[in-house]
């Protein structure tokens, strides 16, 4: 097994892929967002409960590869109890991690455990797997903005 593969399938990923955390439907979610990757058929639904501009709870359901399962699991773990504005920052940082050849140390430190997904960088077609839940998250956050705009 070469280094790239080893970096991609780190133990944390295999573990979260196998035993995803927060893998359930949320009761009374404020936001529900489907994410779908037509290439491989990965499909997930992200549930968020949000109050006072803060993500109170997050969970997901669906089926997909180890990367997208682990990414969803790790993401939901991390964003719980996170202010919406920070979640946006986190989204940007994660995008940076998986698409930039050499993400800055600051970003990696900020992402913490999420950096295990950095290995997809060397697997262009797999980047979409890692970012699938994040795009679902982003869509939710954009909806919040719209609502705020429309209620102001």
């Amino acid at each position: 097994m070469n280094d790239e593969l080893r970096a991609l399938y780190q133990e944390v990923i295999i573990d979260h892929g196998r035993h995803p955390r927060n893998f359930k439907k949320l009761d009374h979610p404020s936001y529900t967002q489907e994410g779908y990757n037509p290439l491989c058929g990965d499909r997930l639904t992200l549930y968020l409960r949000i109050a006072d501009n803060k993500i109170i709870d997050a969970s997901f359901e669906g089926q997909g590869c180890a990367i997208s399962m682990a990414a969803s699991s790790l993401m939901t773990e991390r964003i719980k109890n996170m202010p919406v504005t920070e979640a946006r920052q986190l989204f940007d940082a994660f995008q940076n991690l998986v698409t930039q050849p050499d993400p800055p140390k600051k970003i990696r430190e900020y992402l913490g455990k999420l950096t295990v997904l950095g290995g997809v960088r060397d697997f262009p077609v797999r980047i979409k797997c890692a970012t699938l839940p994040w795009h679902a998250l982003n869509a939710c956050l954009n909806n919040i903005t719209k609502q705020i705009v429309s209620t102001e």
């Binding site: 097994m1 070469n2 790239e4 593969l5 080893r6 991609l8 399938y9 133990e11 295999i14 892929g17 196998r18 290439l39 491989c40 058929g41 990965d42 499909r43 089926q63 997909g64 590869c65 180890a66 990367i67 697997f123 797999r126 797997c129």
Partner: protein, 426 residues
């Protein structure tokens, strides 16, 4: 093909005399070494690699014969036209079609099916008429019919398959009715490898005077297709899946049907007289060949069929059955592996799932070992639903594959199992 007796064209060698390793060397792409490993190209159902003779005949056309066809009164254009029309004869021969003008050049199987859906079915369908397809069709043999259903109010009916991936003939019989206006089925499932009992199915449909379209996108490369025996009403395949160029394919249609159909596209070549008030359509096959065709592609396709004939489709079938059996046995011994599709009549396509890993992950790991397989829904999403899997991994074999390709596949799958059972250590 240097090592096969050239004079044997059209009367191929006995199986025991075919030099398979030499044949493999006819395919330049197969010598590449991704990640420093030998390439085991096992995605032949997606597209096949091209022998030198095909690549060279396309290049030769551009270097020596390139001109537009059917219109020029000069040597070069006559030569291009002759090469183009000779290809039509070769296809007629290859499929044992009754008439050369029943062979229409299109981009590929997808376009051919759309042509039949729009030019044959659309003007004839009324609300509640029915189109019959099977549960294991490629999207290209589903969506065109859904579109025409939406346009006309007709309904799409689906012949179910059993757990082995075989057409349920009783259900088929029950589904055939006066409402059925066309039956469109695959001649070989790209996702399962099943070969449906098309001859019986055609006879049953014809007993009710229902025309049958066979989607031969996969079939044509794997076994001899005899249109006069099959007696189907439409047949199609794609050049790129039968060792030919991309962007070319053919539609066969019975003359009586084609003559009664409206043209599909309008333009140059397909009319005999144009005024602003009206136009007269040209005779077959040109009525359906609007615009400049893929001339070099057609020439390359003819070269591909010639190449196949030199090996012989019976030899190809026999070799591929060997590979299918070898791979089936080897895969069945792989821990946690389940083959999806165990039809009695199968060609060399195997879909499978692994307990330990998702097809997408399998495919990434295999790639790094030099093994190219397909992971996903294989453009057959409803079939995935039928077998209750999100996706499968699929290995599909050509006559140029060999036992070491299969060994490489199986060993790489063991690596997948190791990685996902956490037994890799550091």
């Amino acid at each position: 093909m240097s090592l096969i007796d050239r004079s044997a064209e059209h009367s191929s060698l006995p199986f025991s005399k075919v030099d398979w390793p030499a044949i493999r060397r006819d395919f330049p792409l197969l010598t590449q070494q991704p990640y420093g490993k030998p390439l085991a190209y096992l995605d032949n159902a997606a597209t096949t690699q091209k022998p030198n003779i095909v690549i060279d005949s396309v290049a030769h056309f551009y270097r020596f014969d390139n001109a537009n066809v059917h219109r020029g009164v000069y040597q070069l254009s006559e030569r291009a036209t002759a090469a183009f029309e000779a290809a039509r004869d070769k296809i007629k021969y290859f499929l044992n079609a009754p008439l050369r003008e029943e062979i229409i050049f299109v981009r590929g199987a997808t376009e051919a099916i759309n042509l039949v859906a729009q030019s044959y079915a659309r003007p004839r369908l009324k609300p509640f008429d029915e189109i019959l397809i099977s549960a294991m069709e490629h999207h290209s043999n589903i969506v065109p019919w859904q579109m025409v259903c939406k346009q006309t109010g007709a309904q799409l009916k689906v012949i179910p398959i059993n757990d082995n991936g075989e057409i349920m003939l009783d259900s088929y019989r029950a589904l055939l009715s006066e409402k059925t206006k066309i039956v469109a089925i695959t001649h070989l499932s790209n996702a399962l490898g099943s070969i449906p009992p098309v001859q019986k199915m055609i006879t049953m449909a014809h007993a009710r005077e229902i025309p049958v379209l066979l989607d031969g996108a996969q079939a044509a490369a794997h076994f001899k297709v005899d249109l006069q025996t099959l007696d189907c009403d439409f047949y199609t395949f794609s050049g790129h899946k039968i060792y030919g160029p991309t962007g070319v394919g053919m539609l066969y249609g019975k003359k009586s049907y084609l003559e009664a159909m409206e043209p599909y596209q309008g333009g140059g070549e397909m009319i005999s007289r144009v005024s602003f008030e009206s136009s007269d359509y040209n005779s077959l096959p040109y009525k359906f060949e609007a615009g400049t065709p893929n001339i070099a592609g057609v020439v390359g396709l003819a070269a591909a069929l010639g190449y196949i004939n030199t090996i012989g489709l019976d030899n190809i079938r026999q070799r591929e059955q060997q590979l299918l059996n070898y791979a089936t046995q080897a895969l069945e011994q792989t821990a946690g592996l389940r083959i999806i599709g165990m039809a009695k009549h199968k060609a060399s396509i195997i879909s499978f799932v692994l307990d330990s890993a998702h097809p997408h992950d399998i495919s990434t790991i295999l790639d790094q070992q030099g093994v190219a397989i397909r992971a996903g829904h294989h453009c057959a999403m409803p079939l995935m639903t039928r077998f209750n899997v999100p996706a499968t991994a699929r290995a599909s074999f050509s006559f140029y594959n060999n036992e070491s390709d299969i060994e490489q596949l199986v060993q790489s799958l063991q690596l997948v199992n190791q990685i996902f059972s956490g037994k890799m250590g550091e």
